[in-house]
Symmetry: C2
Amino acid sequence: MHQSIATVSVSGGLADKLSAIAAAKFDGIEIFDQDLISSPLSPAQVADRCAELGLSIDLFQPVRDVEGVAPQAFAAVEHRLRVKLTVMRDLGVTTLLACSNTLPGAIDDPDLSAEQLHRLGELAADQGCRIAFEALAWGRHVSRIGQAWDIVQRADHPAVTVAVDTFHMLARGDGAEALEHIPGDQIGFLQVADAPVLGMDVLQWSRHHRVFPGQGGFDLAPLVAKVFEVGYRGPLSLEVFSDVIREADASITALDAKRSLLHLEEELRRHWAAAGVARPRIGLFDPPPVPSDPEVGFIEIATEPAQLDVLLTAAGFRVAGRHRSKPVTWWANGGANLLTNESTPDTDRWVADQPRPTVTGVGLQVDDVSGFTGRREALLWPALPLRRGEGEAPLAGVDSPAGIHYFVSGQPGTREDWRLDFVPERIPRPAGEGAWSALDHLGYPVAFDVSEAEISFYRTLFGLLPGDVSEFIDPRGRLRSRVMHSDASSARVVLNVTEGHFAAPRRGLNQLAFGCSDVLAASTAMRAAGVPLLAVPANYYVDLDARFDLPEEQLAQWREAGVMYDRDESGGELLHVYTDRIAGAFYVELVQRSGGYDGYGAAGTPVRLAAQRDIEL
Amino acid sequence: MHQSIATVSVSGGLADKLSAIAAAKFDGIEIFDQDLISSPLSPAQVADRCAELGLSIDLFQPVRDVEGVAPQAFAAVEHRLRVKLTVMRDLGVTTLLACSNTLPGAIDDPDLSAEQLHRLGELAADQGCRIAFEALAWGRHVSRIGQAWDIVQRADHPAVTVAVDTFHMLARGDGAEALEHIPGDQIGFLQVADAPVLGMDVLQWSRHHRVFPGQGGFDLAPLVAKVFEVGYRGPLSLEVFSDVIREADASITALDAKRSLLHLEEELRRHWAAAGVARPRIGLFDPPPVPSDPEVGFIEIATEPAQLDVLLTAAGFRVAGRHRSKPVTWWANGGANLLTNESTPDTDRWVADQPRPTVTGVGLQVDDVSGFTGRREALLWPALPLRRGEGEAPLAGVDSPAGIHYFVSGQPGTREDWRLDFVPERIPRPAGEGAWSALDHLGYPVAFDVSEAEISFYRTLFGLLPGDVSEFIDPRGRLRSRVMHSDASSARVVLNVTEGHFAAPRRGLNQLAFGCSDVLAASTAMRAAGVPLLAVPANYYVDLDARFDLPEEQLAQWREAGVMYDRDESGGELLHVYTDRIAGAFYVELVQRSGGYDGYGAAGTPVRLAAQRDIEL
């Protein structure tokens, strides 16, 4: 499929935008007029540059407020269009996006709008161009695709077509059914954008919160599928703008955008397969599938020699093995595996430069390692270079945009099992009372400007979906938490997007939550063994009593052990306990879920944040 | 008046909040329950600390979802209230804020709500407490003050009163008239907050965008006046939360909050005077008035010796005088005065540490310098220490929160005229063709977390009002521009609030816009004399033609001279030209307004920002 993106969708000056878009392997662009106006490049120079970069110019956008205009003011509109058609000629672009009128003085008369669009169609046709008329969701009188299509039909000129923009349609509640009777050759252009579902002014929503397909809450595939089903064969083009994009580096955004279109093509393929309708004859991206049920096998921590040995032993861990070729120790406690890595990598600058300990990576176990690698490559995610010693398992690796290392291994017993890299030392402590079980979730701080890319990483590569945004008051600023999860995987990742007086987030994971069958016993044992646990204020337990009416001896036990509690509406329960931040780098949470409790103890989060106030998030 | 503030309105831990609030001279606080829950201080310790600090505890807030509850679930509510009443007893607070139920399962039955509040009133009364029932603007069924008052009347218990919160009322369109029939002794508490007028989900609006009185768009005085007119005599208390407050330092926020209440009392005084109604017998803040028509006399620039002499001469400036005691030179061009200051201050660290040139301050001329000083002191704004030499004018000084120095002098010819500090050297170049006139506006970047305080500075001290927010796309992030202006003053200040990939804003003014009677002549002359002017892209002039249908020779002249243009709806015109950033520090704009044009050429701002992209904002 011909993949395009509007220049407004990445940051920087026009020349930088073009380079970033070409580097991300797009086929074409929409030129945003203001980007051209602000550029020192002439239209002809822009055309030359695009030709050099292999980018077609698919759309010039937008002209605003060109219909529903008072007749005496229409000559100025014609002049404006003539000038812009000259610019388009120099650019070599033939489709022009015209937005529905937003001015307070716009006239509510479909016949007048149609007559004026007809005239503009004549002017465009004289230059070999055509107009795609778009109903802005906040248009004064024309704000729905049905109205725009009605006016295009009344305009009755071959150079006047309708534009489809998924944001404008879905923001106004128009889905695929609204396109049912529009012939595909009358659709002049298709712009796609996703957005989180927010109850806010639609203009603000559009300006600040659009995201790339797959990052928001819109169900895009059925709508986009319909556009192709009715016969549209033009570009699949992204028009997204947001606060995040304004701040993010153009090359990161362009790659993120490209991946979102690949992901959307995959969703289209799935949609057509599930709907059982004949797929239109269009080429679609077809990568290896997401891994089914990836599980967290281990967590890797870069340490100084023996730095955590006392602490890990106090927390119930035992050495389970030693790496065959590197100074890496495998520690186990029940189902929890930690690798402490004392080597200083020479190519991995961030790990080499970071103070220790730092939690640098996650080991995943999947069924098909080479399938995973194929998917990673197809989706343009960069490989993590791994050095493989004699007789060691052939792991795959990838870095998240925030720099988290993922090591992907096969299942236990296969030749790609990460355990093969270790000489076993001792049978791990079995699961049981107070022992830890597999990872419940992991978390880390993500800077605002890479947060969408980080979501995209988990979504496109592993099929995890972003949950709702939870907002918390933190003594130093705002914390917005988002859980990436999937029914098909036990791996859950908490992205903590921070803004405010936070230092630039220290790289690496800082929140490791393991399951535990008896948090109270584990907490008591850890405290006795000298593991520093988070000091939970006594007032918290008074509030627990107020909320849940609990027996005093129960509360006293928890208070004594620093155990926190939550209960959901259907009676599911959570007991959990936090360590202090360990050597300034990360903290561990033990989580005991029962009765189907599926949350994270959000009511206690402000308490934890305040207790952690002088320590990092 | 007894002035209070909710602990949720400042950032930090509870102990820090109390200290900051006391330091800002508040009389009392509302304890936000979550702040207590998260604190290691017990309720009794909090009470002791407040007593030490001279703060009364006026309210405990909130309990949520206590009415409209299914009867079988009400026992849990009673238990919750009992526990919280125990906490209140230990705190020594007797008023409890109860918010209207927001849960999806809330029952829409005023009689049930009244019955439940009656019961809670009995429990409260047993402990010598009372309940103030608040209609949250997003309450499930009770969202208007009239509904809350109706339920309080039905509850018919002396310990059940209604709470007034200006945000909740004004967000739902309820003004003073809604309080007409509520007896003042049935109003249990008054919370005030302002907000910008935004079309968005009211919960998000409340959580993220509340501001202190005078910083938003609500007309608070008539509503607050009415509360006192009906007989309320309790605290005037602030409950404000926002993204800015989360990030700002508690001591800055608390002072900002305190000033906003002083300002509100001044507004109340004005309201009652204008309305001609008898003012309730309450003490009200009564500072000296805002200066009438403050004018900008000069701009001060810290420079290296002779650093700008060539440039200023090329721009048409001549030396008009030399300071009597300091290495300060007065330059003039028509009505524009610049002071270049080569001294290194020993007490003024930021100026001493800053690279030069830096535009450090603004000289204002007012009618009553000592009145200004009285107002500054009454409003708790810190004095700027000034060293005064023999025979020099007694200026007053004040620093804005962002660090801009304001020097306040008397009018020309008075003994407080700043010109008296200078030995005149030469008659300034007269106003005339190409000469500059007085300052049109000045601007500077303001970090997000001090932006509200900066608005408050201009509003409380000088009576300038904030205009609408203009948003611009900048290649490096977001720029929100806000003009502080007043009909009574020619001084206009543009605050550019930045978020994104901007370096921490360099301190000082960076935008100096002077009037000019002939921008084209001035621009041509400056270019000929070697003053570096901003390179405006040719595409900009093509767009000007599209928008305004201008003669080609006119456009060619402007393009040649780098002059930008705008026209408003009524035909008012703006011609303006920018210098490049001068020595990395600031740029100058010359502004020629005609036909009542009152804007700032916003349509050209993205072009300017892009052209300035490698230079600071």
